[in-house]
């Protein structure tokens, strides 16, 4: 069983290079010390308030995401290639967005079907023809990757709207450094704490042309009922910017303003963590109480920048995903460095037929789904589950895509009996402003249940600190 998956610590020959320095650490850690450390880690997470909210399931709504102390390690060589691939993809996705809201060259060239883009719900008619500052739509691109071999990575999906989880990347490191300072003295782990400074610099760099001073940047949150509220306040705090809700902002004349005790203050850049539909009740959903009425008029007349730009979601749709390698070739004239997972579009009759015939071997996902809900993992499902899902698929094929079950790599993970391999994925956060930046780190999510391939925190996944070993 174990050999069918790439084990990031042990390959056929023994301990892989990036993990050699950790051998003594975990082998010499007595079980009771481990238990103490694990409790200490949880205490730290509680104290920092790093929780995510789950409502409607009873119990304490503020949950901790399980933290596994065993770090995941990349060599600088491994990381360099990933970094090039991630930045390339982030550039291509932005080029695509600025194209489809402008002349749509990629569609005219017949490289992507028009209907897939223009009839997509995430395509915002309200911003067609509008060019945001520097032509950038997606300022924080979260790219979900899985590994299947020493040199084989696949992109599972792109997140161009408001990818969450970066606070875990930062806090996992913080907690590890507090608990095991010697590990960081002995090993050259590349730091990730520059992320907040880079994010702020990215947001500053896309201030509107009308802004003639140091840009005023705010983070717009839907409020404390949102599952990622902790992250919103954490990031605002690290960047030294205001955390605001819709009611703290208002539109007057050509600008957006923040209410302060010293009177209204003009806002130049809004890092929003609310969905397009809720941004402005005068443009989108009229019942939204989370947004700022009139904001889209200010945005479209160049008075404020919204990050990510409204409409950015059309690039990370699961049906569009198939075409990202094509975007890389079309806009950048380069060969894609990162590969896509082969994907069948159930909207296409031929491909649907293949999916239906091989349903037990495939992973089937909703085109607009997220969080690991509404999906079928064929090989892990019983007959009845598959049959129920097959009926849903037949009723509405275009709502689904299918992919092969990937042999996700494993990383050593602390379990009751010691350490054991558990499946992991990787979400790095690429920043796109005047420059394209990627801190040497990412969020590693781990499926804590033995054999499970679902890493989502809403489905029992945990997180790990992710190391990139700096060069000598």
């Amino acid at each position: 069983m174990a050999e069918q998956y790439f084990n990031e610590m042990y390959d056929g020959q023994g301990l892989r290079a990036p993990y050699q320095m950790l051998e003594g650490w975990y082998q010499n850690m007595p079980a009771e010390i481990r238990a103490v450390k694990q409790a200490e880690a949880e205490g730290l997470f509680r104290r920092y308030g790093i929780t995510f909210a789950v409502y409607g399931e009873g119990g304490d709504p503020d949950r901790l995401i399980p933290f596994d102390m065993f770090p995941r390690v990349f060599t600088s060589d491994e990381w360099r290639k990933l970094e090039r691939g991630i930045k390339q993809r982030a550039r291509a996705l932005n080029a695509f967005l600025s194209d489809v809201y402008d002349r749509g060259e990629i569609i005219r060239a017949g490289r992507i079907p028009a209907d897939l883009v223009y009839r997509n719900e995430a395509y915002e008619i309200a911003v067609a023809g509008f060019r945001p500052p520097l032509g950038i739509f997606s300022h924080i691109v979260g790219i979900d990757l899985v590994r299947t071999g020493a040199d084989q990575f696949y992109v599972l999906e792109d997140n161009c709207r408001t990818p969450s989880g970066v606070s875990y990347m930062l806090e996992n490191r913080e907690v590890m450094m507090r608990m095991f300072p010697h590990l960081f003295q002995e090993n050259r782990v590349a730091p990730v704490d520059g992320y907040a400074r880079l994010l702020k610099r990215t947001l500053d760099s896309v201030a509107p042309e009308k802004c003639e001073r140091d840009p005023k940047v705010v983070l717009l949150t839907p409020g404390h009922y949102n599952s990622a509220y902790y992250e919103h306040s954490f990031l605002a705090d690290l960047m030294g910017i205001e955390l605001v809700e819709g009611q703290d902002l208002f539109v007057e004349g050509d600008f957006c303003w923040m209410r302060t005790t010293e009177g209204p203050q003009k806002v130049d850049v809004i890092y929003r963590r609310i969905d397009d539909a809720f941004l402005d009740p005068l443009c989108f959903r009229p019942d939204s109480a989370l947004g700022v009425p009139g904001l889209m008029n200010v945005y479209r007349s160049g008075g404020v920048t919204i990050c990510s730009a409204p409409g950015a979601g059309v690039a990370d749709d699961k049906a569009i995903y198939t075409y990202v390698p094509e975007m890389v070739r079309f806009y950048l004239g380069e060969a894609p460095i990162l590969e896509n997972v082969p994907t069948w579009q159930c909207a296409k009759p031929d491909e649907l037929k293949y999916v239906q015939e091989n349903i037990a071997d495939l992973v089937i996902k909703e085109v607009h789904g997220s969080g690991g809900y509404g999906m079928l993992v064929g090989p892990k499902s019983d007959k009845a589950t598959i049959e129920t899902f097959a009926a849903k698929l037949a009723a509405n094929p275009s709502n689904y895509i299918a992919q092969p079950t990937l042999a996700l790599s494993t990383c050593p993970t602390f379990v009751e009996e010691g350490i054991a391999p558990r499946h992991v994925d990787l979400r790095p956060y690429c920043l796109v402003g005047r420059d394209i930046e990627l801190v040497p780190g990412a969020l590693t999510r781990v499926a804590l249940t033995e054999g499970s391939l679902v890493v989502n925190s809403s489905q029992g996944g945990g997180v790990k600190d992710t190391w990139v070993i700096a060069e000598e």
Binding site: A114, A126, G253, L282
Partner: protein, 276 residues
């Protein structure tokens, strides 16, 4: 023809409200069928933004009142020279790809009755030219929904209107959009004014119709309520996916209390008045 417009919208609040903000789509579109001679939007006491043109070619403007008030009055007045372009929208600069208007909203979502209406209307003409099919659809909608003020309200969907079997221009436009989508033609909702009487007396004139994107012609207006295509009696303001999306005024009141709305729209043909 020169049309003069005087459009007043007054909101009265039972108790003073804390503030009001509105997005106005109240400036005539720039296209071959019409030329603005003069136009003004006046909202006493309010702050107005600089108008801008969105990707659909509409002029939008934000107006806000940030003080306690118990009413707000928007007065739009102006003169527009109009030309008959047989309903074809020409010389209109816009950036939205027509195929984006194939998507429905909750207000234009078809039901079985609308599907049947389309099937009947196009029976034997499924492969006819777009223009022919569009006329057939408009005629069918007009027949299915006799003009009946009061049978529907501002929130009525296309499906509800067809079930009621009656409606006003808003319902005609939304049902026609729904039909066009089923027939594979992009379609959108248009807000504007209509000078509907033969004589030159000013009269109630807010109006709405649909535009369908036809192969070879581009956007063409269809006024199913009046069984015609817009001509020089029409003034086009702006468009959207449905009545809400294309509304001339979208607003929000903070600290809201019961409101009453009073709208008067007067339109008249200036030429004729001068002749008398």
């Amino acid at each position: 023809m020169i049309l003069t417009v005087l459009h007043k919208t007054r909101y009265e609040f039972a108790a003073p409200v804390r503030g009001i903000i509105q997005s106005l789509r109240l400036t005539p579109a720039k296209c071959e069928g019409q030329r603005v001679l003069d136009w003004s939007i006046d909202v006493p006491g309010a702050t107005m933004s600089t108008p801008f043109r969105d990707g659909a070619g509409d002029y939008l403007q934000t107006v806000s009142l940030r003080a306690a008030c118990d009413n707000i009055e928007i007065t739009v007045s102006g003169r527009v020279e109009t030309f008959d372009t047989a309903g074809i929208l020409r010389g209109h600069r816009e950036r939205v790809p027509p195929r984006a208007y194939l998507r429905g909203t909750i207000r234009t979502e078809p039901n079985r009755a609308i599907q049947d209406l389309v099937a009947d209307a196009l029976k034997g003409h499924e492969d006819a030219a777009d223009l022919d099919r569009a006329h057939r659809l408009a005629a069918a909608v007009s027949q299915a929904l006799p003009y009946t003020p009061g049978a529907t309200d501002a929130h009525t969907t296309a499906a509800e209107a067809i079930t009621a079997g009656a409606g006003v221009c808003q319902d005609h436009a939304q049902v026609l959009i729904s039909c066009a989508h089923l027939a594979g033609m992009p379609a959108r909702y248009v807000s504007g004014y209509l000078n509907a009487t033969e004589d030159s007396s000013p009269h109630e004139a807010s109006h709405a119709w649909a535009e369908l994107y036809l192969d070879g012609l581009g956007w063409v207006g269809f006024d199913a309520a009046n069984q015609c295509c817009p001509n020089d009696q029409y003034i086009r303001l702006g468009s959207g996916l449905d009545a809400q999306d294309a509304a001339p005024i979208r607003g929000l009141v903070s600290g809201g209390s019961a409101e009453s709305l009073d709208v008067s729209v007067e339109i008249a043909a200036q030429e004729q008045r001068q002749q008398q």
